[in-house]
């Protein structure tokens, strides 16, 4: 099978490498075999925390939209249960004859929700729409790497890239980035804000802003017999306490919480399944303004890093429900330095005496005052700022915490207004998604204004290498370099959300990336 060989090669490039090949065979079975016989029917009510910013998957990066769109749309590829390996979805096979060419073969007989058959023209249109400035896609710059798309026949799509780009396949597996839309449908509607047709397991039935989004079963879904559920009802309940109550009362059968203490409370409730997330996908990240003193001095940044007791932060702020992390979220395996190995990185272990010595060496024996901007929007950020304030106070860095509203912090973060600022960084499909944008000197975001040719070179190589083992070692080197130069401080990584559901829901599998795609094979008992 030629397809299989190339597939394996590219599966490897997405992250699993040698280990992945080992357990590739066992995984797909895990989701379906051990559970009792699936049952058709029933509507699952989900407590959704935020009104979606429209349902157009190409127009926003908001999770509130993605978490609904992921059931309506599908992509050329999709993630497996480990979220580290892509598998076929709308494309059944693909080849990569040279580093600049990707050929995809589309699945036969896939229909959009309106009955139209999926063709290569729809795929071509999707990517044209993504890069069209009029679409206002936040990801337009990522896909500008595509120099041409050819459609030799209705079931074949050929992408020509301007330069080798190894994250490509990973983006093709994420609805948040590359949901395949119907050309005819978009032409008719203009945009998909009120919804549109996709090829996903569920289709839109009703969209009542701030109240309810109702999806119903797609009878033409290409996986035979799936989905088992007749529909999904997303109830908008912004208040976390109310969502907990709604789940207890059975008003909804599924929701998620963003606070570890709320999650802990739900752990003891009978008939509620509240598993601990399998991997930490949200990286807490502290940025310095490296253009100005004092943080332009690597010794000060290293001292800052040495002053922190990361284990204590995990224990106090997250009640132990977090892990140590380097510059990539630990769930980005195998690229990320695993939590257990973080203490082996330079300046990652508490050493106040060494930190004080570095401060003296840098000419700050008397310490200095500085400002730390943080937003209370996400759990943990302010708490971490407070504990960091105490810890670095010991080496004379007197921090004033400045709380900002989230969208203000984002602006501030990018314009590097405060000497120190912190934000969470959420799992992206590829390690390159998050790390380059923050640390590459050519990135327009680069909040700390890091300018390191060594790092730039490593990042560029990792972005262009199709060899998984080489990519892994390159990203490990990147993390080593970032820790050594203390460009950013990563106090810990935690779960993005704590998902929980009624024990009536069977066959479901929560992913640490907070995608609920496995609802396609779940059923209500």
């Amino acid at each position: 099978m030629t397809a299989d060989i190339t597939r394996r090669r590219f599966l490897g490039s997405t992250g699993v490498g040698l280990i992945g090949l080992g357990y590739a065979a066992g995984l797909p079975a895990a989701a379906g075999d051990e559970t009792p016989t699936p049952k058709r029917g029933g509507v699952l009510a989900i407590g959704h925390d935020e009104n979606p910013i429209g349902l157009d998957p190409h127009k926003t990066a908001a999770f509130s939209t993605t978490n609904i769109a992921e059931h309506m749309f599908s992509c050329l590829l999709r993630w497996d249960a480990t979220v580290s390996r892509v598998e076929p979805d709308l494309a059944t096979a693909w080849e990569n004859p040279d580093p600049l060419t990707f050929v995809f073969h589309l699945r036969e007989g896939v229909k959009f929700h309106n009955g139209d058959v999926l063709t290569s023209e729809d795929v071509k249109f999707t990517f044209q729409r993504l890069v069209d400035p009029a679409t206002r896609s936040p990801w337009a710059s990522i896909f500008s790497v595509i120099s041409a798309i050819e459609t030799p026949d209705p079931k074949t799509v050929v992408f020509r890239l301007a330069h080798p780009f190894s994250p490509f396949l990973n983006y093709l597996a994420s609805v948040r980035y590359t949901a395949i839309v119907s050309r005819e449908d978009v032409k008719q509607r203009g945009d998909l804000i009120k919804g549109g047709v996709g090829t996903g397991p569920f289709m839109l039935d009703d969209f009542r802003p701030n109240s309810l989004i109702r999806l119903k079963r797609n009878p033409h879904y290409y996986e035979p017999g799936l989905p088992y559920l007749d529909g999904l009802d997303f109830r908008i309940i912004p208040d976390e306490g109310s969502r907990m109550a709604a789940l207890r009362a059975g008003t909804v059968q599924m929701t998620w919480l963003s606070r570890p203490d709320s999650a802990a409370q739900m752990g003891d409730v009978p008939d509620i399944v509240a598993p601990e997330p399998e991997a930490f996908s949200r990286l807490l990240l502290l940025e310095f303004d490296q253009r100005k003193p004092p943080f332009n001095d690597v010794r000060v940044r290293r001292a800052f890093s040495l002053a922190l007791n990361r284990e204590l932060i995990v224990k106090v702020v997250w009640r132990g429900k977090a892990g140590l992390a380097a510059a990539l979220p630990p769930m980005q395996a195998p690229f990320a330095v695993p939590s257990g190995e973080v203490s082996g990185l330079p300046y990652a272990n508490e050493d106040v005496a060494a930190a004080k010595a570095l401060m003296t060496e840098a000419g700050y024996a008397a310490g200095f005052e500085t400002i730390f901007a943080v937003s209370p929007a996400n759990y943990g950020d302010v708490q971490i700022a407070q504990i960091v304030q105490q810890m670095v106070g010991r080496i004379g860095i007197k921090i004033k915490i400045l709380q900002k509203e989230w969208s203000q912090l984002v602006t501030d973060f990018q314009s590097t207004e405060s000497p120190i600022s912190m934000a969470g960084l959420v799992w992206g499909p590829d390690p390159d998604t998050n790390i380059s944008i923050r640390l590459d000197s050519k990135s327009t975001v680069n909040p700390g204004k890091t300018a390191d040719p060594v790092l730039d070179d490593l990042l560029a190589k990792a972005r262009q290498s199709y060899d998984p083992a080489e990519r892994t070692s390159l990203y490990r080197a990147v993390q080593q370099r970032v820790a050594d130069m203390a460009y950013v401080i990563t106090p810990c990584a935690a779960a993005l959300r704590w998902e929980m559901w009624s024990s009536k829901l069977q066959g479901y599998r929560a992913l640490p990336s907070a995608q609920r795609v496995y609802l396609r094979q779940a059923w209500l008992q």
């Binding site: 910013i53 602006t411 990018q414």
Partner: protein, 317 residues
Amino acid sequence: MLRYAATRIVFAVPVLVGVSLMSFAIIHLIPGDIVSVLAGPTVALDSEAAQNIRRALHLDQPLPVQYGIWLSGALHGDFGNSLVMGLPVGPQIASHLPVTLLLTALSLVFALLIGLPGGVVAATTRGRWPDLAIRGVGLLGLSTPPFFVGVAAVLLLSIYWPSFKTLGVVDLHRDLVGSLQTLLLPAFVLSLAAATTIMRYTRAAMLEVLAEPFMATARAKGAGRLRVLIRHGLRNALLPVVTAVGVTAAHLVAGAVVVEQVFGLPGIGQLMLNAIYHRDYTQVQATVLVVTTLVVLINIVVDLSYYLLDPRIQQHG
């Protein structure tokens, strides 16, 4: 009376324009950018993609020009499109407003049902235990914020009375009865502070009226105790209470924002909060204007109701 009403309505126009100007200024003064909401933290705010978003939304224009564009639209009844969703704001408001109106009206009914009898009983039993009990509970009702009572009520009911519909879907068009059932608890929670205010005003006014000589006369004529209390007492005590009801109703509209959030109700408060959070300027403008109009209208109605209760006011204008 018509002339008076007309004057009041004409005077409301500059108030509304003033409020729209203020809300415009405030939302633009808050730092942060709608582009950061639309594009997420990983897209550079000065990138071409971000600039395109800004241009498309007229956000590159000077503020007075932006306000002018909005105002001329609003005067034509066009509130523009939501910047975030791209959908017209008008229909959004039209679908969310009835929920808030119903919620506020229901909780006003609750507040009156609790507050008026409470106040009368407290006044007639002044200093004795029913008075103390009512005032004690009232103080609790006034000082406990609705978001706390709301969450506590939802949680307790879900544990001890799971069949009670606490967080159902509200859709007034398709399921009016079910929606009303779902709205009962939020309306009750919202009414607590208002009920206390009304109770206190009623009590104070009743105490004053009870001391009036005509009350003694009424009793001397042989009127029944209840008749004396309601017909002669409450009727005369109502004027200050009506003022309090007006102020309270305005507070209810504001309180609805919080209660809608807790109970996940698709009302104007949710629309407004989301708009502020996303820096959706046109939607903030429109929702603030609608809420202000509501409050102004309530005040006009209160003023006019004085006429009905006390014809003497009519002569003085």
